[in-house]
């Protein structure tokens, strides 16, 4: 025990990101306005470096034949789960950066700080994914959150962006206050800040004893903070506003990376920390999930703003994922639900970023491009983008053989496997419901005529790359999901599980 050289290695991805973030801040000062493209390029390189770092850690783990190594005095752990999420964050970030370059130019806010904040936010996410100590988790969460507040408000001259940032900040700070309150109670109940310690104490002392009501308050306040971050009803309301007002590229980034980080943390906290309280949080999650699916799907139905619509859609997806959590923790034999969440987050990253990429691409000259009508006749203006958008929409709706189907598939699989038939039925019916508003987008693109005088949409190279990346990933995962499923199995350490081992063959 103690600080050793491996800790440097384990921190390598985060360190590299930080270094590049600082580097961007410095380089930006020296850049001519027309050379600003260096910033995103640097950021991408930073992400790639960080990915190399993750890979190095992964190889080291493989070499040590170890499922995971705790580090930094056991406040973090580098296991397959963390590595999976690291890759996920980095992939999302690359696409988001590629989406941003041209967009910021148009918005005339092409500053290095944007990329630096993005990289720092990813550093925070990584802390959330790998932290096993509530202090580190909290700080990571705040690092990510505060970076995101700024990024949401990055279009300083745009009132909607201001407003979104302000709302997001006020609610975010409020929720993190509540979250911190819950953490303080958890600490008070267990005397430790490490998740393992908390789990142990909860099992041994708290749950059986008179402290249970306090523990309930601790749990619920903690859950509030977590559910707020993943935007589940009734803690979701920041999401539509923030998504709508934020720069579109950031909306995409938030909807996938930030959400994935929140999920990583939620899973970590609930499963390794608060598992003793599952009898309490599972029914709560069922309620939240039903409320989320219902509210979000209904609210999305009549939206006319694409970003807002997708915001509600992303809330609805959270509802499905929560079902996976409920089922995934029902028995130890059925990890399908967790698997479902992980693969859901993976495919969601690509399809949702792709969708936001297309919306971002619509921003040109003085068209904001986030109204549904702006998509009208997109097919004739940008056929490739329109078809890919269709792919993303159908994937979001969960139509096989597109990637989005697999997330839902495993969720429903786990629900059936754990005898939650009614929940499964509800979930699938809501997913049909959801198709309606995705089809609205498809309708606009393919079946409505473009407004007069609309010519071909100029799409930058980096944007094309981003959308193509997302599109290829969506199709590839959809058609040949096997390696990805195995990746998730690997990340959950399921390959050793005899039940799963038979499957993997």
């Amino acid at each position: 025990m103690g600080f050793t050289w491996t800790d440097y290695l384990l921190a390598l991805p985060i360190v590299l990101l930080t270094l590049f973030a600082l580097g961007i801040l410095l380089i930006d000062l020296m850049l001519e306005p027309e050379k600003k493209w260096v910033n995103p390029a640097t950021a991408v390189i930073g992400v790639l470096f960080s990915a190399t770092g993750v890979y190095k850690v992964q190889m080291w783990l493989e070499a040590a034949n170890s499922p995971g190594v705790p580090g930094m005095m056991r406040t973090m752990v580098m296991d397959h789960y963390s590595i999976y999420f690291f890759y996920l964050f980095l992939a999302a970030t690359v696409i988001a950066i590629l989406m941003s370059a041209r967009y910021l130019e148009i918005e005339n806010e092409n500053h290095g700080e944007y990329y630096a904040l993005m990289l720092l936010a990813v550093a925070g996410m990584m802390c959330m994914a790998c932290g096993t100590d509530i202090v580190l988790l909290f700080i990571g969460l705040e690092l990510m959150a505060i970076s995101t507040y700024v990024l949401v408000g990055f279009l300083r001259r745009d009132r909607r962006s201001n407003e979104a940032a302000l709302k997001y900040l006020l609610l975010g700070a409020f929720s993190s206050g509540i979250f911190a309150y819950g953490l303080s109670l958890l600490y008070g109940l267990t005397g430790t800040t490490s998740l393992q310690g908390i789990q142990y104490q909860l099992y041994q002392n708290v749950m059986p004893g008179p402290y249970k009501p306090v523990a309930i308050i601790a749990l619920i306040t903690t859950m509030t903070g977590l559910l707020f971050k993943i935007a589940a009803i009734p803690f979701h309301q920041w999401a539509p506003d923030a998504y709508e007002g934020a720069p579109t590229s950031i909306t995409g980034f938030m909807s996938v990376a930030v959400k994935a980080a929140a999920w990583a943390m939620l899973l970590r906290v609930l499963i390794s920390g608060l598992m003793p309280m599952r009898p309490i949080w599972a029914p709560m999650l069922v309620f939240v999930s039903i409320a989320t699916m219902t509210g979000a799907n209904f609210a999305a139905l009549t939206q006319t703003n694409t970003k807002r619509l997708l915001a509600y859609s992303s809330i609805a997806h959270v509802g499905y994922m929560l079902l996976g959590l409920v089922a995934g923790t029902a028995t130890t034999l059925s990890p399908d639900g967790i698997k479902g969440i992980l693969i859901y987050l993976l495919v969601y990253t690509f399809m949702n970023l792709g969708a936001f990429g297309v919306i971002t691409a619509l921003r040109h000259r003085n068209v904001i491009g986030d109204e549904l009508d702006d998509l009208n006749g997109l097919y004739s203006r940008a056929p490739v983008e329109a078809v890919l958008m269709l792919v993303f929409m159908l994937s979001l709706a969960g139509i096989p053989p597109l990637a989005g189907f697999w997330g839902k598939y495993f969720i429903f699989l786990s629900l059936i496997g754990t005898q939650h038939y009614a929940l499964a039925a509800l979930g699938v019916l809501y997913s049909v419901f959801g198709l309606y508003y995705y089809l609205k987008i498809a309708n606009a693109m393919f079946m409505a005529a473009p407004a007069k005088g609309e010519e071909r949409l100029p799409v930058s190279l980096s944007m094309r790359a981003a959308i193509a990346l997302a599109g290829i990933a969506t199709l590839y995962i959809g058609l040949l999901p096997n390696s990805f499923i195995q990746m998730v199995n690997w990340s959950l350490g399921l390959a050793n599980n005899p039940n799963v081992a038979r499957l993997v063959r």
Binding site: F3, L25, E113, G124, D133, L136, I139, V150, F154
Partner: protein
């Protein structure tokens, strides 16, 4: 060192804190609120001392009262106070808000006080002033027990982000 935790000081300080808190959320003038908040924070620092946490108390006074609140005051000065003063201070849902918040606080307090014997106070804690600061520092920096070292580093990033954020947001031209 034990007698510091007398009920008198506790109720005095907590009374100050509560009154300060109430003033924060009721004052029309944001400057007054800020002043009330500073008062409350200082009272809280006193409570920290009563809890044998001099380092935190110091941080509270220096960083909170001294740093953050000054920031608040600057911003209050920056923005137009005149107009705000003449307007309603509470929104239309204030009653519902109070009820909801009161319900929440009430629930909390009810739960805490229902189990009277929860968290019994431990007597006779030997306390050396230097030990506190050193203990905090050990947890933060010691290569053997400094488990919050990494979190501390991340906290530095947090502050960096705060700086960048504040600059980006507040500066007219970057």
């Amino acid at each position: 060192m034990n007698p510091v935790a007398t009920p008198f000081f506790f109720y005095l300080l907590s009374g100050t804190m509560i009154i300060g808190g109430i003033l924060v959320i009721t004052r029309k003038n944001a400057v007054h609120s800020a002043m009330a908040l500073i008062t409350a924070l200082l009272a809280q620092a006193g409570l920290y001392l009563m809890l044998y946490a001099p380092f935190v108390a110091g941080v509270q006074i220096i960083l909170y009262a001294g740093g953050i609140m000054v920031l608040f005051l600057f911003v209050i000065m920056l923005i137009n106070l005149e107009r705000t003063l003449k307007e309603r201070q509470f929104n239309q849902q204030w009653l519902v808000g109070i009820v909801a918040a009161a319900a929440l606080g009430g629930l909390f307090i009810a739960v805490y006080t229902k189990g009277r014997n929860l968290f019994p106070a431990s007597e006779h804690l030997t306390y050396v002033e230097s030990q506190n600061t050193q203990g905090v520092a050990n947890l933060l920096f010691d290569p053997h027990v400094g488990m919050y070292m990494f979190a501390f580093e991340i906290a530095s990033l947090l502050l960096l982000v705060a700086i960048i954020g504040a600059v980006v947001m507040a500066k007219k031209r970057i």
